[in-house]
């Protein structure tokens, strides 16, 4: 440890010693280091939609759970769940009461967690259960060594630390974003978002039957299209270009569970969104 003669601050010798972590050149230099470690290079992250899949009940979820069960014989899966209609409901009540975005984010975690336990009940025979969020991150590699898969609530643990959004008050980092951030931090093999549409369309297919499926697109092209709505959290368009390990994800229709099997095998069965 030494005292800096000009600022009289005390420092420990290291690369970042005496430096501002807000300095642009210094931050750019931090990328000139070892490649980022992939903690779980063989695991896939599969996000199962809340409203799109789980809220449909047995008709949609039983076949998908069976497909997940078969996949667990071959693949290591980190399964994230969405919050679905209950999150939409608690948002509407919270908005009506004038509660801030961070509180809405905190409340919504409970819905995705409930869905994680619903899915965990169906996958219990495979040894795959919902892991409490408090220990999930720290113990994830340990769990995946002992079980073929784990289930998490898809939400990132932003809670009251959620960012105020540019428009309105709905929390921007929801379960697609949390699943992406999990995949990126742990360096997973792929991220698959399981929804109830075949992928990304150039208009909402529920309202525009003539809408065209976009098989593959990058973030810049997608931003330029300025679509009225997206089938995934919009913040992914900000997160994906900053990805170091996960630079793409695929959206598939989970009402056709065989597509999950094929997507895990690396096939292109929905829409692939690339960072660049």
């Amino acid at each position: 440890m030494r005292e800096d003669p000009t600022s009289r601050r005390h420092h420990v010798d290291s690369l970042l010693m005496r430096e501002s972590l807000l300095d642009k050149d210094l931050m750019a230099a931090t990328d000139e280091h070892a490649p980022v470690v992939r903690m779980l290079a063989d695991a896939h992250v599969v996000k199962v939609g809340g409203r799109s899949i789980i809220d449909r009940g047995r008709q949609a979820l039983f076949p998908l759970a069976a497909a997940l069960g078969r996949a667990l014989e071959e693949h290591r899966l980190i399964i994230g769940t969405g919050g679905g209609v209950r999150s939409r409901h608690v948002f509407s009540i919270g908005l009506d009461l004038g509660l801030p975005t961070g509180v809405l984010a905190q409340l919504a975690i409970a819905d995705a967690l409930g869905n994680a336990h619903i899915l965990g009940t169906l996958l219990a025979p495979y040894g795959v259960v919902a892991i409490p969020p408090e220990i999930f991150g720290h113990l994830l590699p340990f769990f995946l060594k002992g079980a073929p898969g784990v289930i998490m609530n898809g939400d990132p643990p932003y809670s009251i630390w959620e960012h105020p959004p540019g428009i309105g008050r709905i929390p921007p980092h929801r379960t697609d974003a949390g699943s992406y951030l999990t995949a990126e931090c742990f360096g997973c093999k792929s991220l698959i978002l399981v929804k109830d549409v075949d992928g990304l369309f150039d208009a909402d297919p529920a309202e525009h039957p003539e809408a065209r499926l976009i098989r593959e697109i990058d973030v810049a092209e997608l931003k330029a299209m300025d679509l009225a709505s997206l089938p995934f959290d919009e913040v992914l368009l900000d997160l994906l270009p900053r990805g170091r390990l996960v630079k793409r994800f695929q959206i598939i229709n989970g009402l056709h569970p065989e597509r999950l099997t094929r997507a895990l095998a690396g096939e292109h069965v929905g829409t692939i969104v690339h960072a660049d």
């Binding site: 601050r9 807000l22 630390w161 709905i170 709505s229």
Partner: protein, 278 residues
């Protein structure tokens, strides 16, 4: 058949907005625009005060002990939610992590540990005043402690851990203790957000390295970002988030090495640099 069953009309359980939220897309900007509206100020009397890690705590007793006395002296007049920075040991941990190629999310975990050490030290120095240190899971007790003891200590890092986003440039976690503290002030609709550092406020360059740096007493977040300075006095994310904020649309940066500055800032005086959303 009871009265409750008679009153049960599922179609009226949700407001019009609620129905649209249940059936619509949460990426639809028209729908999102309808979710804007007045937000409650949950803790309007509380001040969030962030004590810098490298700038204050790492200087040891000479800097921190007088500040602790000043905090104690303000308990009668002001409620304070006291966040801590990380500082030198976080820089060391980040350096090791960079050398090994550890992901940004892991660095966020490491930074949290250092910020927590600093929170514990500040907490022990304030212990005789009955002031608790709360971790994120204890935040539901925050309002009680503020009423009972007038202050709490928390670690400034937002609890993103492995879910910390990558920065646009480099690998250091972009949302650190300035951002975590700021978001606490925004979500609770706090009375003020005060950053206690070791400079008088914002300068056109790092005054520790550039003698020609000039002081900026007041500026908007947009102007500051447009200046595209080599270095910033608070994390960039704070300036970006402030522009979307409902309540905490200004922050103040003061020099905690000067006795009386914190008291003046708590009293609402114009000390240091005020950065506003617009």
């Amino acid at each position: 058949m009871n009265d409750f069953a008679d009153d049960y009309r599922p179609d009226q359980l949700l407001s019009d907005l609620g129905k649209r939220l249940v059936s619509g897309s949460l990426t639809d900007r028209q729908l999102l625009a309808q979710t804007a509206g007045p937000v409650q100020q949950l803790l309007p009397d509380a001040n969030v005060v962030k004590i810098g890690g490298q700038s204050v705590i790492d200087r040891g007793g000479k800097a921190l002990l007088p500040l602790v006395e000043e905090i104690a002296g303000n308990l009668a007049q002001h409620q304070m939610i006291l966040g801590t920075g990380a500082g030198t040991r976080a820089r060391h941990a980040y350096s090791v992590a960079l050398d090994l190629g550890l992901p940004t999310g892991v660095m966020s975990v490491l930074g949290t540990f250092v910020s927590m050490q600093n929170a514990r030290m500040l907490h022990y120095l304030l212990a005789k005043h009955g002031i608790p240190f709360i971790e994120p899971v204890q935040f539901p007790q925050l309002p009680l402690y503020l009423v009972e003891r007038r202050a709490v200590v928390f670690f400034g890092m937002p609890p993103y851990t492995f879910w910390q986003q990558n920065p646009a440039v480099g690998r250091i976690p972009p949302h650190r203790t300035d951002t975590g503290s700021y978001l606490v002030s925004e979500v609770f609709g706090a009375r003020s957000m005060i950053y206690v550092k070791d400079e008088d406020g914002l300068y056109t360059a790092d005054p520790k390295k550039d003698r020609n740096a000039t002081f900026i007493p007041r500026i908007t977040a947009g102007e500051l970002l447009a200046l595209d300075l080599q270095d910033l006095v608070v994390e960039r994310a704070v300036l970006e988030l402030m522009q979307n904020a409902q309540h905490r649309r200004s922050i103040r940066v003061i020099n905690g090495l000067v006795p009386g500055n914190l008291s003046r800032a708590l009293a609402g005086e114009d000390v240091g640099t005020l950065i506003t959303a617009e």
